[in-house]
């Protein structure tokens, strides 16, 4: 069979790109498809990365430079896909048909739509933005919702995460440290601003994260308040008034802000879910795909020849995602060798 070297990678974000790079080195024919008009996924929208503030462009450039020889299609999705003689026959939205021995799903995540938490007023009140909006602002400084020299800025953790009301009971894992990173960046940009982070638990699980938290307190004087924000309102001067309980002192509090940043969490992507329907992939209660084993076989799906990498199986950091991409490349390589022996 001449198609036995074909691998279809779905998703041009960090997971898809890194897996493509690794598999390309192993001399497979890679076809990577990306639904948007650019490579890099959410990474391309972000400015800097926790915990050290590495510029995303650095990472992105590295990925794209290493991609030499990989065939990829932008603005392309899967129209249909089915199993044909042990391979996957996929018809792409650009009309091309591919017969691939293995498929890697690296469809990533969608950011929770902050406007769904209506009480936080995203899209209703003038100075409420999301974590993604703030990254764009850091990149180009264009967002008019960010006032010049804000006196007080707030961050709300767990927006659309750990919240039964929106159907997401899971923790999105990276928002805590992202909030700490962004809070520090706000202080760098606006040293006179008072910055508040409203959290439920501070999950500083990674190397360097706790240090960043300490720096946020020590160097920047950021105030961490343990309490979920209950609602946001606007006063007559278009400032935001937010309410929470400082649960550690047991007092209901309020504060007037010039800018509020909502830390939107991660959800399995809509396009990923559509693909999951086509391929009958198992999901868990949180909406992300189910791995064959959550401990040992994270790159395997419930379908032979279909593999996962990255956030389609749950919220992950960027280093985690890269590890998974490389691990998926290894697993796919083994699978390809074994199936060609058959």
């Amino acid at each position: 069979m001449n198609n036995n070297k074909n691998i279809l990678i779905i998703g041009g974000g960090p997971a898809g790109l890194e897996a493509a790079i690794q598999l390309q080195k192993l001399n497979y024919n890679i076809i990577l498809i990306e639904k948007s008009d650019h490579l890099g996924g959410h990474l391309a929208e972000w400015d800097r990365l926790f915990p050290d503030g590495v510029k995303t462009k650095e990472i992105l450039d590295k990925l794209v430079n290493n991609l030499v020889g990989v065939k990829y299609f932008l603005n392309t999705e899967i129209d249909s896909i089915n199993l044909l003689n042990g391979s996957y026959n996929a018809i792409l939205s650009n009309g091309i048909t591919i017969l691939a021995k293995a498929v890697l799903i690296a469809s990533g995540f969608d950011l929770f739509k902050a406007e769904r938490k209506q009480e936080y007023g995203y899209g209703v009140y003038n100075h409420v933005i999301s974590n993604a909006d703030l990254e764009s602002y850091f990149k180009d400084g264009k967002d008019q919702r960010v006032v010049k020299n804000p006196r007080r800025v707030g961050f709300v953790h767990c927006v659309g995460s750990r919240d039964e009301k929106v159907g997401n009971i899971h923790c999105s894992k990276v928002c805590c440290v992202t909030a700490v990173k962004q809070a520090c960046e706000i202080k760098e940009k606006f040293p006179d601003a008072e910055v508040f982070c409203f959290y439920i638990d501070l999950r500083m699980f990674g190397r360097g994260y706790e240090d960043l938290y300490l720096k946020a307190q020590q160097k920047y004087g950021i105030r961490f308040i343990r309490g979920r924000v209950s609602e946001v309102a606007e006063n007559i001067k278009n400032e935001l008034i937010i309410k929470a309980e400082d649960t550690l002192s047991g007092k209901p509090i309020q504060v007037t802000l010039d800018l509020l940043v909502l830390m939107s969490g991660m959800m399995n992507s809509k396009s990923g879910l559509e693909l999951g329907e086509m391929l009958s992939l198992n999901k868990k209660e949180d909406g992300f795909f189910e791995c064959k084993s959550s401990i040992y076989s994270q790159q395997f799906s419930n379908k032979k020849g279909i593999f996962y990498a990255g956030t389609c199986t749950g919220p992950k950091t960027l280093p985690d995602t890269f590890h998974e991409a490389r691990s998926a490349a290894m697993e796919i390589n083994t699978y390809m060798n074994e199936s060609n022996k058959e």
Partner: protein, 108 residues
């Protein structure tokens, strides 16, 4: 006036807008470490006075930042300066000094 038999009060919600930043800055100058408290509660757990009084450094720090200066002082006046909290603080805050300095700036 009609005697209604009940009265009007204003909300006791803490308003962080009213926090006295200048006074707190004074404290920060001598006690910058107050910022790094992560409210773990080790100080209060080990506090000898806390077993008999309302003493709690953890709460005092929070109340202070919530603008409740009197409440903060009340959480510290029972302190006997034994220094056990200094031994346990995971962030190595010199809690004994901190307590003294809070009382110096905020009591009366």
């Amino acid at each position: 006036m009609t005697n209604f038999g009940f009265k009007l009060v204003t909300s006791s919600r803490v308003n962080l807008d009213k926090f006295d930043k200048e006074k707190f800055d004074k404290l920060l100058k001598i006690e910058p470490d107050i910022r790094i408290c992560m409210a773990c509660g080790a100080c209060t757990a080990t506090c000898s006075a806390g077993k008999f009084t309302e003493t709690s450094l953890r709460k005092a720090i929070l109340l202070l930042q919530n603008g409740d200066e009197k409440g903060a002082v009340n959480k510290l006046i029972g302190c006997m300066l034994c220094g056990k909290c200094t031994i346990v603080c995971p962030r190595s805050i010199n809690t004994r000094n901190l307590i003294n300095n809070i009382l110096k700036i905020y009591s009366k």
